[in-house]
Every structure is written in structure tokens, then in C-alpha cells.
């Protein structure tokens, strides 16, 4: 589904990703862990086409298409979704209007008719329940005045609405208390099928108790330096990253 080959990427002239390789198949959950500054969030930005980052080398193919040729909105409409680490507020734009615009853009891209008002409202209701989202939140402007936890829940709600093939959760657990974490993780698990895939970017093993990964990758200095199963996450929790740094730097 997703194939990242030897990606190098800069921000403000500084190279962050230095030859990253990753392959994701349908039905898989991949966790990306690593110390601060390793390039985890950069990976999310590069996958989704954030213009602040410049890709200097390598390729990203998704469903066989060259993603580097596509705009951020085209990539989104191809089925790549990012749950932002810091979702922005958009004052004055209601969640309803925002979601309907997003869904209709996706449908237009896929040459479908715009969604009817009744279908849209039904979909909203269904997905709100899934992530235990309060009605009050969807009646407000996008993320405006939401607490940290509400913003993250709103990201998962949007993910449920847009039904992506590939979801990237960027530090979705940061700023969440344990109850909110459980709700968000439950939402993600309910949306999981054998056709879609998830990349979970996280600092801590905690989230992986709820969203169980098939693979755990350690990202360090712009590259994936170690890959294992869920036990690798536990090992990292216990031992920290220093032993990996030593392994890599000692090469």
C-alpha cells in the first residue's frame, strides 16, 4: 500500500530525514518510536505534503501512485489522513460545514455526487458515537476553544468521517489523560479493518497497550534503525533509547 524509499527531507535547509525506508501493507499497524528530534513528525509532514518540508531524494508510492507528484489535498483525497499533533483552530468555520466540505471534496475527487444532507447527518451521528464525541463539539467552530483532549478526539472523529486507507497518528496520546486515551484508542481500533493501515507515531509505549502494533520501528537520526514486534516497545520503555543510539553510533 505504502512504500517509502530512501527519503531525504529538509526543513529550512537542515536535513531531518536521511534515507528513510518503510513499507506498509493493508491491515497492518506500524508504530514509529524514537527520541526527540529523530524526525518522527517530519515523516508525517513529508507523507502528507506539508510545503514547509523539501524532499531532496527518494520516493513515496501509495497504491502505486507517486505521492511526491501530488498536492497535499490530492494525497488526502487518495486516502491519507493525518491526525495532527497540534490541531489548529479555525474560528468561524463550523465543524459541520468543514466536514461536509471535506467529504464532498473527497467525493468529487473520486467522481461521486455530493453527499445528501440526510446521509451526511446520519454519518455524523454514527461517527460521533464511535468516538464518544459530544454534540456540543460538532456544533462549534473547528477546534475553537476545545481542550487538548477534545482536539485529539476531534481528529479521530474526522478520521472516522473520512474513512482513510492510511491513517497517521502523530503523537495522538500527548496531552491525553488515561480515560481520553482509552476513548481515542477504542475509536482507532473500531475503525481498523484488514483493508486499511495505521502508522502510530509516539514517544511512549503507553498508547501501544491500547493500539497493538504489528511492527515497531525505531527512528533515529532520520532513519529507521531497528524494527521489531510489540515487545520492542516494551524494551524501549524499560531501557530508553541510549542503547540504540550506542548501537547505531558505534557502527
Amino acid at each position: 500500500m505504502l512504500e517509502i524509499k530512501d527519503i531525504h527531507a529538509n526543513i529550512n535547509g537542515k536535513e531531518i530525514l536521511k534515507g528513510l525506508i518503510l513499507k506498509v501493507n493493508p491491515g497492518e499497524i506500524h508504530a514509529i518510536m524514537g527520541p526527540n528530534g529523530a524526525g518522527k513528525s517530519t515523516l508525517a509532514s513529508v507523507l502528507t505534503g506539508n510545503p514547509a518540508f523539501e524532499v531532496t531524494h527518494g520516493s513515496i508510492s501509495f497504491h502505486g501512485k507517486d505521492m511526491l507528484e501530488l498536492s497535499p489535498e490530492q494525497r488526502a483525497n487518495e486516502g491519507i489522513f493525518l491526525s495532527f499533533q497540534y490541531p489548529v483552530e479555525i474560528p468561524g468555520v463550523s465543524m459541520v460545514n468543514f466536514m461536509r466540505t471535506a467529504i464532498n471534496e473527497q467525493r468529487k475527487y473520486r467522481q461521486l455526487e455530493p453527499i445528501s444532507a440526510t446521509d451526511f447527518l446520519r454519518l455524523m451521528r454514527e461517527k460521533k458515537e464511535l468516538v464518544e464525541m459530544d454534540n456540543k463539539l460538532t456544533n462549534r467552530s473547528v477546534n475553537e476553544g476545545f481542550s487538548g483532549g477534545e482536539k485529539k478526539r476531534n481528529e479521530i472523529f474526522q478520521m472516522a468521517m473520512l474513512d482513510p486507507d492510511l491513517s497517521i497518528l502523530d503523537e495522538t496520546d500527548s496531552g491525553l489523560d488515561i480515560d481520553a486515551l482509552r476513548i481515542v484508542a477504542n475509536g482507532v481500533n473500531k475503525l481498523k479493518t484488514d483493508k486499511n493501515a495505521t502508522i502510530v507515531i509516539t514517544h511512549y509505549q503507553r498508547l501501544l497497550d491500547y493500539i497493538v502494533p504489528d511492527f515497531v520501528h525505531v527512528l533515529y537520526d532520520g532513519r529507521i534503525v531497528k524494527t521489531g514486534d510489540k515487545n520492542l516497545a516494551l524494551e524501549l520503555e524499560e531501557k530508553g533509547y541510549d542503547w540504540i543510539k550506542k548501537e547505531v553510533d558505534g557502527e
Partner: protein, 478 residues
């Protein structure tokens, strides 16, 4: 709805930029007393009307164009403008007699003159160049005693009302453009709502400049007698032309005791091209008076067009307990300039005014809010709240706020809030990541920003206004 807007946005430039090939009766360029007499004669006006015009003209010759606005106005040669242009086939009695080309024009503008209008419940007076073409629903309104007709007809059939109210709010000597308009105004609309009558439909005027090198000088006079209500809409468009066209209108509103008038404008005169060539100079004097107790006046304007806008819809709050509102969205892009705002003059006791101004600047444009809140010594407990927000798109445009306050009564409470914000790259990327293009994201954010004002517009106009905002800002980001 969003879909339509998107579709439109991807294709549209200034979609009203067509011209209509109809026979026009146009007088030679230039302005002097003979021209004023000629206009009056063409309109078969009574002597008092001619005297009024001549007085205004003579006063105008002693005046200078105002220079205090934050605008760069190229020199205007008032002798190179034609002051009267009329579609040649005049005064149609029914739709069948209206020039089909003209009907086509109005259809292109989306003004349904036909009886299907009944469904949307709007009565329309359409003014093309200088002459009022057809007023729909006159009969329906007449049953309630409501007068809604062209200004010329009002001069002919209701001279008492015209003489009583014309210039009672905007004196001919008020300012340079008001004096000019008073001398050469060609047509416009007149509305009278009798005592105790609630106008059952929205009244609407569409203004259009079609002929080359003409100025459009229309007058609107609205009188709401005691305990009456009316909602009035005004729309404006003009064809795409390289040269500038002058538009200097006057709107006067008189609101008597317990009456209410809502005046909404969607101003979309041709703004000029991307390089600032052409476009309408929109120098307009709009003023209302809340004459009686408990009267209410509300101005709502969406200003997207014109190369230069100079316009301050104002209100004199004379009656005790009267209230006034001013809601404005002004958008400027490319080389457009706008200096717009309001004046709230509190004379009566317990008078209240509310100002909400949303400026949006993009490209190389300049957008200024200029507002005056004056509380006179006798206006006990006057209350004003003003909010002026500016939204910047890009870093080559300007947003300015010039609030003036003159408070001469210590029981008054006057508040002013102002904000300036910018659409951030993070907001755009967030929308992009949800599959929404940058252009559409800007539209979404701008419409969200202007929503409070757009919500004050009647439904049909709100939709139109939303589209306009987006179209005006096309290509302003990215």
C-alpha cells in the same frame, strides 16, 4: 451550496463583466447649467425640481473633492463624463414592452423580473445606467398603500412626499459628491411605507452601469412612517471596462416612531483588473435618521467591488430609545482601495448603536475602516459598541482603522474593540490535509470570519455574498 460555490470559484472571473447591446440615449460629455437643464427636461421635471438641481450645481462648483480619506484617487475630469444615459425604449407599461436585450441582461444578472418573483417574495426596481426600467409588484404593494417606484415617477406622482423628504437627511450642500448627485441624479428608487404597515416582501433595487463613459448618479429615498417595517436590498454590477466609471449615489432613509428599516447592500461594481486598470469609483453618501421614538435602522453591507470605495452609511439617532446598527464586510484584492465605515450620531436619550465591521484585504489592496461615534450633550444613557476586525491575506496589503469618538455626555457608554488577524499557513495546511484546496480553504475561512455579518443578510443575498467573497479573493493566496 458549498459545491456550487466551489464550482463557480474555479471558473469565474468577474462574471458580470458583459455589456449589453441596446440602443442608448446618451448626452454629450461635460457638465454645466445647460446640461443640468437638459437632464431635467429629458425627465420632464417640474420647475421646483430644476431649481433644486441648479442650486445643487451652483453649490457644487464652489466645492472641492474631499481628500481626507485614506485613498489615492486619480484626478477625475468631471467634464469628460456623460451625465445621462438611458436605454432608448422608455417607460414600458408591461414586461412585453421591455427591450428583450435588457431583459436578457437582467436575467444574466440573475434578477428574475418575471412573475416567478412572487415565489421569492422580492419586488425589484432595476436601474440600468440612469433610468429605472421596471418595477415589479407595484400593484401588489399598492394594495397596502406602499409606494415603491422609480424616483422619476415619484417626482411626478408624489411631489409632496419628495419635496418633504428629499435632502432632509443629506442636504445638497453636505459634501462634494452629494452636491454633484443632487445636480445630475438621473433616477433611483422611492419607497414609502404608510403608518402601521409591515411590508410583506423584501424590496430590491438592482443598479447597473452599461454605457461607456457615463456616470451613474442615483438617489434612493425610503420613508417608513410610524409603526411600519421594511427590508430593502440593493445590488450593483457593471461591465468590465478599461476606463474608470464614476458612481456617486445618495441614499436617504427616514424612520418614524416605532418603525424599522433594514437596508442591505451587496456592492459588486467592477473592481478593475489585476493590474488596477479600470473599475468603478464608488463615492456614495448614505444616511438615515431615526426620527421618532423607538425607531430602528440597520445597515448591512457587503462590499466586494469597485476600484475605489468611499462610503459611510450613517445614522442620526434623534428619537429617544432609537437604535441603529451597522454591519459591514469589505473585501479588497489586487489594487482595490476602500475607505468605509459609519457615523452614529446620538441625539436622543437612551439611544443605542452597534457597529460591526469586518475588513478583508488581499493582494496590493488597502482597506480602511473609518467610523465616528458622537454623543451629543442631551443624549443621556447613549450606548455604543463598536467592533472592527481586519483580516489580512498576504503581506503586501494594508488594513487601517480610524475610529473617532466624540462623547459629550458623561452617562454615555462607548466601547471599541479592534483585532487584526492573518490566515496562517497552518490553517491552510490543516484544510489541505482534509482534502480541501487552498482556494477553497481561504473561502471557508473568510466566510467563517464574515459570518456574523452575512447572517444579517436576507437568505438569497447571503448565498450570493458568500460566493462573491470567494470569487473576489481568488488567487490571493499561494
Amino acid at each position: 451550496m458549498a459545491e456550487d460555490i466551489l464550482h463557480e470559484v474555479t471558473q469565474t472571473d468577474y462574471k458580470y463583466g458583459f455589456t449589453t447591446d441596446i440602443e442608448t440615449d446618451i448626452i454629450p460629455v461635460g457638465l454645466n447649467e445647460d446640461v443640468v437643464r437638459l437632464i431635467s427636461a429629458k425627465k420632464k421635471e417640474p420647475e421646483w425640481m430644476l431649481e433644486y438641481r441648479l442650486k445643487a450645481y451652483r453649490h457644487w462648483t464652489t466645492m472641492k473633492m474631499p481628500e481626507w480619506a485614506h485613498l489615492k484617487i486619480p484626478e477625475i475630469d468631471y467634464q469628460s463624463i456623460s451625465y445621462y444615459a438611458a436605454p432608448r425604449k422608455n417607460a414600458p407599461k408591461s414586461l412585453d414592452e421591455v427591450d428583450p436585450e435588457l431583459l436578457n441582461t437582467f436575467n444574466k444578472l440573475g434578477i428574475p423580473l418575471e412573475e416567478q418573483m412572487a415565489l421569492s417574495g422580492i419586488a425589484v426596481d432595476a436601474v440600468m445606467d440612469s433610468v429605472s426600467v421596471k418595477t415589479t409588484f407595484k400593484e401588489t404593494l399598492a394594495e397596502k398603500g406602499i409606494i415603491f417606484c422609480s424616483f422619476s415617477e415619484a417626482v411626478e406622482h408624489h411631489p409632496d412626499l419628495i419635496q418633504k423628504y428629499m435632502s432632509s437627511v443629506v442636504p445638497v450642500t453636505d459634501n462634494f459628491f452629494a452636491a454633484l448627485n443632487s445636480a445630475v441624479f438621473s433616477d433611483g428608487s422611492f419607497v414609502y411605507i404608510p403608518k402601521g404597515v409591515r411590508c410583506p416582501m423584501e424590496l430590491s433595487t438592482y443598479f447597473r452601469i452599461n454605457a461607456v463613459n457615463t456616470g451613474q448618479f442615483e438617489r434612493t429615498l425610503i420613508v417608513a412612517d410610524e409603526d411600519s417595517y421594511v427590508s430593502y436590498l440593493e445590488g450593483c454590477t457593471a461591465p468590465t471596462r478599461d476606463e474608470n466609471q464614476l458612481h456617486a449615489a445618495i441614499v436617504e432613509i427616514v424612520v418614524h416612531k416605532n418603525a424599522e428599516v433594514k437596508y442591505s447592500t451587496v456592492q459588486n461594481w467592477y473592481p478593475g483588473d489585476k493590474d488596477g486598470r479600470g473599475g468603478v469609483y464608488n463615492f456614495v453618501t448614505k444616511r438615515g435618521i431615526c426620527k421618532g421614538e423607538n425607531s430602528k435602522l440597520s445597515w448591512t453591507q457587503v462590499e466586494t467591488g469597485s476600484a475605489i470605495t468611499w462610503k459611510y452609511p450613517s445614522c442620526i439617532l434623534q428619537g429617544d430609545n432609537s437604535s441603529a446598527e451597522f454591519y459591514s464586510v469589505a473585501v479588497t484584492n489586487h489594487h482595490q482601495q476602500a475607505d468605509t465605515g459609519t457615523k452614529m450620531i446620538h441625539l436622543g436619550k437612551n439611544t443605542r448603536s452597534h457597529i460591526l465591521s469586518k475588513g478583508i484585504s488581499a493582494g496590493l489592496s488597502n482597506n480602511s475602516y473609518r467610523g465616528l461615534v458622537r454623543v451629543n450633550p442631551k443624549a443621556d444613557n447613549a450606548r455604543n459598541f463598536s467592533q472592527c476586525d481586519s483580516l489580512l491575506l498576504g503581506d503586501k496589503c494594508g488594513a487601517h482603522t480610524f475610529p473617532y469618538m466624540e462623547v459629550n455626555n458623561e452617562t454615555a457608554i462607548v466601547e471599541h474593540e479592534a483585532t487584526t488577524s492573518k490566515i496562517s499557513e497552518d490553517q491552510i495546511f490543516y484544510c489541505n490535509q482534509r482534502g480541501i484546496s487552498t482556494e477553497d480553504a481561504v473561502g471557508l475561512i473568510v466566510n467563517g470570519y464574515a459570518k456574523e455579518v452575512l447572517n444579517k443578510l436576507p437568505m438569497e443575498f447571503a448565498v450570493e455574498a458568500q460566493k462573491l467573497l470567494q470569487i473576489t479573493l481568488e488567487g490571493s493566496v499561494g
